[in-house]
Every structure is written in structure tokens, then in C-alpha cells.
């Protein structure tokens, strides 16, 4: 390769770099920088000296409770909507009417993007202690508030999260279900298998990676949600995002000024693990469902 070719290569690199620069700059400053800042400050105390005290602190109460509550809520708000969403996706994938399926698609996309403050308001109107749905169910004889349900605590959060988690699950699983070739089912039947055997031996094993991927996405989504939980419980539920929020509002205990950052690091670690699982699942599922 002569000097001329080398020069051209260099010129192309610099040209590419120039075009990509604005994007890289924005992403660096508004994405990488805050993340690194959080990690950096998690290991610093109020005066800026290095310390691991913050990280240690989050393993103890009340932060420990925050993590366990967060994990518990995320688990409930993943498994329940996950199962329901899967069943719903299966049923919906059997609809042949093109108009209906188009409408359903629109509905799914919209619902999965609902969230935050707006959702809280309509849920209060529906499921609050004097909500319409609560009253209607009470008229039918079973008022959930009398049986341990409380919209503004754990059960309410799981309910409201389900509202956008179920459509999210349906959205993710629908293409995976569509990739289940009808020939597999038919071949299984003609070889003598009934529906149960088909799902046990072929259907679910093939879907397993996609399912795992979907569940990790749901878990991450539930774990990191802030706005919905805050608006619903006015910040009273002990979960990690809320604690971080309290910290951001300036409610800090002396000597633990930077614990909020450590909480952030803890949260990121959990999410990174989820992301790795998701990446594995994605690769696995595309291999099988593609062939």
C-alpha cells in the first residue's frame, strides 16, 4: 500500500470522524458523562476523597430494604404480566381478520407506551378507594380494598405496572410466536403428538430464549420505573428509584451525602446483569427461529 493510498485512508477516517462528531459529542456528554459521574461519585465522600463507605452503606438498611422491595415488585410485575402477556400474545396471534389485528397492533403499541404520571391519574379514578371500578366490584360483592388491596402500596404498584408491562410482553412475544413455524406443529401432530406434548417438547423450548429475553426486558422496565411509583405513592414506597429521588431532592443524612450515587451504581449493576442475560437470549433465539 503506497503513500497515496494511506493518505486517502487517513482522509476518509477524518471525514468520517467529522460527520460522526456531533452525534458522538451529544451521546458522550448526555449519556456517558452522567453515568461515569455517578460511578465516580459513588466512591467519594462529601469532601471528594475516595471511600467505599457509600457502597457498604447500601447493603444495610434502609437501603437494603429498598433493594429487596424493588426486586420483589419487579418480580411480581414481571412474572404476572409475563404469563398473562404470553397467553394474550398467543391468542391474538391466532386472529386472522386483518382489520382487527391492525387495530390490536395499534392498541398494543399505544398501551405499552403509557406510563408515568398520566396513568396514575386514571388509575386513581378507577381503582382508588372511591374509584369507579372499586365501587362497581363492591356492588358485585367483592371490594378489593376490603381484601388487602391498596392502590397506593405494593399491590397497587404491581397492578399499575401490569398495565404497560402486559402490552410490552405482547409486543415482544408476538414476533417470536409468529416465528414458530406451523410446519413444526403439524409435523408433531402427524407424528402422533397432541397439543400439550407439542408445547412441552417443541413450542416452549424453542420459545424459551425469546421468553427469557422478554422477561429480562420487563424486569428492567419495572425495576427502573420512577415516575409512576412516585406519582402514585407520593414517594412513600421504599424502592431504589424513589430513594434516589429523595436524595436528589436534598433529603440527605449527614455523612451519607453520596449514598444516592452508590444506590445508582447498585441499580446499574443489576440492570447490566439483566442486559447480559438479554444479549445471550437474543442471540440464542435468533439462531433457532431463523433456521
Amino acid at each position: 500500500m503506497g503513500a497515496g493510498a494511506l493518505g486517502r485512508r487517513l482522509r476518509r477516517y477524518t471525514l468520517n470522524a467529522l460527520v460522526l462528531a456531533p452525534f458522538v459529542l451529544i451521546v458522550s456528554y448526555f449519556l456517558f458523562y452522567p453515568i461515569l459521574k455517578v460511578v465516580e461519585l459513588a466512591f467519594q465522600d462529601h469532601q471528594g476523597h475516595f471511600t467505599t463507605a457509600n457502597m457498604v452503606a447500601i447493603t444495610k438498611n434502609p437501603y437494603r430494604l429498598a433493594f429487596s422491595t424493588s426486586l420483589k415488585i419487579s418480580l411480581y410485575a414481571t412474572v404476572i404480566p409475563g404469563v398473562l402477556g404470553f397467553v394474550l400474545a398467543y391468542i391474538l396471534s391466532g386472529i386472522k381478520n386483518p382489520i382487527v389485528s391492525r387495530l390490536v397492533l395499534a392498541g398494543k403499541g399505544v398501551l405499552a407506551n403509557f406510563g408515568g404520571v398520566n396513568l396514575v391519574f386514571i388509575f386513581v379514578a378507577a381503582y382508588g378507594s372511591t374509584g369507579y371500578l372499586t365501587q362497581w366490584m363492591g356492588d358485585l360483592g367483592w371490594n378489593p380494598w376490603n381484601h388487602g388491596f391498596n392502590l397506593f402500596t405494593f399491590s397497587g404498584i404491581v397492578l399499575i405496572y401490569s398495565y404497560f408491562q402486559v402490552p410490552l410482553m405482547v409486543l415482544i412475544m408476538t414476533p417470536a410466536l409468529a416465528a414458530l413455524r406451523p410446519q413444526w406443529r403439524e409435523a408433531a401432530h402427524i407424528l402422533g403428538a397432541n397439543a400439550f406434548t407439542y408445547w412441552r417438547r417443541i413450542g416452549l423450548p424453542v420459545l424459551a430464549p425469546a421468553l427469557i429475553g422478554a422477561l429480562t426486558l420487563l424486569f428492567g422496565s419495572a425495576f427502573s420505573a420512577y415516575a409512576t411509583a412516585e406519582a402514585l405513592t407520593s414517594g412513600s414506597i421504599p424502592i431504589v428509584p424513589i430513594f434516589i429521588g429523595n436524595f436528589l431532592d436534598g433529603n440527605v443524612v449527614a455523612g451519607q451525602e453520596n449514598v444516592g450515587y452508590a444506590l445508582g451504581v447498585g441499580m446499574m449493576l443489576i440492570l447490566v446483569v439483566l442486559a447480559i442475560v438479554y444479549a445471550w437470549a437474543y442471540r440464542r433465539s435468533s439462531r433457532w427461529l431463523r433456521s
Binding site: E186, A187, A188, I190, L191, R201, P205
Partner: protein
């Protein structure tokens, strides 16, 4: 290797429509035990629908499917004891080749050792014994279909169903696999129904061929009969090559190249313009300076040469032996050598042209 004998299959007056389209229109077919019958036709003709009715994937609106002595029309496919090979992608992706082949056996609670030996036997039959532990996505299309065949045969079904098993494969693999299927079928004397849109496939391996169009059977005969004595104009044009020659009909004969030729499907006595359907091998070409026909094109086919000849009554395709040298642009004389000829009315021809 124990030889398997198949059962007979009867389709009685099957009717089936969906989406307002008639897929099967009073379709009847009897397949003898051990016979290989091909269902041949263009897409939408109902051949796949018929096969799926036999397999049990659909229940026809009316009519019966009888296997052996049993009416299976409403029996679910799990209970029909048939083997099926699909067009593609039917191997279970999460199971190895061996597990795929053993799937049916496992369902029937065959013990592990005998399962293993049977699957090995079948994989040897299709030449893939060394790929037993591989997974489907690691195999080529042709190999996958061979595994699918082994899997279908593993449970010793009474009937083997093949739904365009070769259509998704390369030409070379296709012909190899075709021969393998035929050999296996003969060896096992298995009743087989083979769906295809490729007439060469159907003609080369089937004992009998059913040419289907719009849900009806146009003709059911041996390949030879189908080719040389097509019963309807659809069959004549779909199977093999036919050229259309405009001529005058008078009563039961037409004039072709100056000769009076009896009409084969003479059902009504009329006069008027018709199209005679001529097979290339029935047209004899002689070089002649005074001839009225001009050679437009010549294609070398190996053992013969196909000529496209322009005549005042239409463009005629004629096959001549490779040794006979006829060049494009030369003038020739044509004559027709078969004893009778199939004709189509001008309306019929227009309809067929659209295919």
C-alpha cells in the same frame, strides 16, 4: 429390513371452500396399496388442500377420506398413523437429527435401545448416519429433507404424504433426492401421495398422476397416457409442450399441414376455426426451398434440437434429432405424424394462455 405395506386411500367426493374460493370440487381419487400417486397442477388447483384433508389438518366441507377400511374424515391427525414430509423447515430446531427421527418413536414409548437402532437404520437409508448429532440449522436443504423423510418413515406409517418436498431445493439435489424417494417407496411398498407443481417430477416417479385444476381432477392416468393421450386441453398444455395451430374443423377431422387428421376428443360435430394442439415430437421438419414455413429460432437441448417455426397458422415448436441440421431463417416443410390430435376451441385457448 422389514418391508412395509401401505394401506389403500380413498378420497370420496371431497368438497371444500374457504374465503369464498372452491378449493376442492367433488374430488374423488382411489389410491391402491403401495401405489405412488402424484397430484399435479398449478398453484391454487387444490392439490395441497386434498393432501391436507388426507393428513387431517382440515376437515372437508363434505365428502369422506377412507384409509384401508376406516373412515378417518373426522379423525384428528395425531391418530391417523401417517407420515408426512413438508416443503421445508419442518425439522424441530431444538432437537438433534437423531432426536428428530426418534420423535415419533418416543411418543409411542419405544424403548431407548430399539429407538436408537431404528433411527440409525433410517438415517443409513437416507445416507445421513454420520450427521446424527447435528442440529437442523447446520444441515443443507437437501439434507434436512432427507432427515424429514427418515423421521416420517420411522413410525412405519400406512401412508406417506409428501407436500412439494423438492420445490425448495436446488436442481441437482432435487433430482438426486427424487430418485431416492422413488427407490425407498418401491422398497417399502408404501402407499404414497406426492404433491407437486413440477410435471417432470410427477411424470418421472409416479405410478399414476392426477392433474388437477380449480379443485377438479382433469385426468387421472399413468404418466405415459397422460402425456400421449391428454384428455382435456388443460392437460395437453400443462403436461409437456403443445403448440397451437389454427385450422378448420369439418366434422370429426381437421386439416393439419395438408393432411386430414381425426380429432381425439370429438364430442360435438361442428365446423369452424379451432386450435390443434401439436406436440413437438409429432412434427416432422424437412428442409425445402418451396416450403411456406420459416425457422425462427433453434435451441440445442442435448440429444435433440427444438425449433420454433413460423407458419401462416401459428408458431409451431418442433423437435428434430441433433444430427439433422436446420438453421434459423431457412424455409422448411412440416408434417404431422401422430394418428389423432387434440383440439381446443378458440375461447378455451385464450383462457389457457392466461395461465
Amino acid at each position: 429390513m422389514n418391508s412395509v405395506s401401505g394401506a389403500s386411500v380413498s378420497l370420496d367426493s371431497l368438497q371444500h371452500s374457504y374465503a369464498g374460493v372452491k378449493a376442492l370440487d367433488n374430488f374423488t381419487l382411489h389410491v391402491a396399496p403401495g401405489e405412488l400417486v402424484a397430484l399435479l397442477g398449478p398453484s391454487g388447483c387444490g392439490k395441497t388442500t386434498a393432501l391436507r384433508a388426507v393428513a387431517g389438518f382440515l376437515t372437508p366441507d363434505s365428502g369422506r377420506v377412507v384409509v384401508g377400511d376406516t373412515d378417518v374424515t373426522s379423525l384428528p391427525s395425531q391418530k391417523r398413523d401417517m407420515g408426512m414430509v413438508f416443503q421445508s423447515y419442518s425439522l424441530f430446531p431444538n432437537l438433534s437429527v437423531r432426536d428428530n427421527v426418534e420423535f415419533g418413536l418416543r411418543l409411542r414409548r419405544v424403548k431407548s435401545a430399539s429407538r436408537r437402532s431404528r433411527s440409525h437404520e433410517l438415517l443409513e437409508m437416507v445416507g445421513l448416519a454420520d450427521q446424527a448429532v447435528k442440529y437442523p440449522h447446520q444441515l443443507s436443504g437437501g439434507q434436512q429433507q432427507r432427515v424429514a423423510l427418515a423421521r416420517a418413515l420411522a413410525v412405519e406409517p400406512q401412508v406417506l404424504l409428501l407436500d412439494e418436498p423438492l420445490s425448495a431445493l436446488d436442481a441437482k439435489v432435487r433430482s438426486e433426492l427424487r430418485e431416492q424417494i422413488q427407490a425407498l417407496q418401491k422398497r417399502l411398498s408404501m402407499t404414497t401421495i406426492f404433491v407437486t407443481h413440477d410435471q417432470e417430477e410427477a411424470l418421472s416417479i409416479a405410478d399414476r398422476v392426477v392433474v388437477m385444476n380449480k379443485g377438479k381432477a382433469e385426468q387421472i392416468s399413468t404418466p405415459q397416457e397422460l402425456y400421449s393421450q391428454p384428455a382435456t386441453t388443460f392437460v395437453a398444455e400443462f403436461v409437456g409442450v403443445s403448440s397451437r395451430y389454427r385450422c378448420e374443423r369439418s366434422g370429426a377431422t381437421v386439416q393439419i399441414f395438408g393432411r386430414s387428421v381425426p380429432i381425439r376428443n370429438a364430442d360435438t360435430q361442428t365446423t369452424g376455426q379451432v386450435h390443434a394442439l401439436l406436440r413437438p415430437e409429432d412434427v416432422v421438419v424437412t428442409a425445402s426451398d418451396s416450403g411456406v414455413a420459416r425457422v425462427l429460432r433453434s435451441s440445442f437441448l442435448g440429444s435433440s434440437v427444438r425449433l420454433e417455426v413460423e407458419t401462416p397458422h401459428g408458431i409451431i415448436r418442433a423437435d428434430v434429432p441433433a444430427s439433422q441440421v436446420v438453421s434459423a431463417g431457412s424455409m422448411v416443410e412440416l408434417s404431422y405424424r401422430s394418428e389423432n390430435v387434440l383440439i381446443a376451441t378458440l375461447d378455451e385457448s385464450k383462457e389457457l394462455r392466461a395461465l
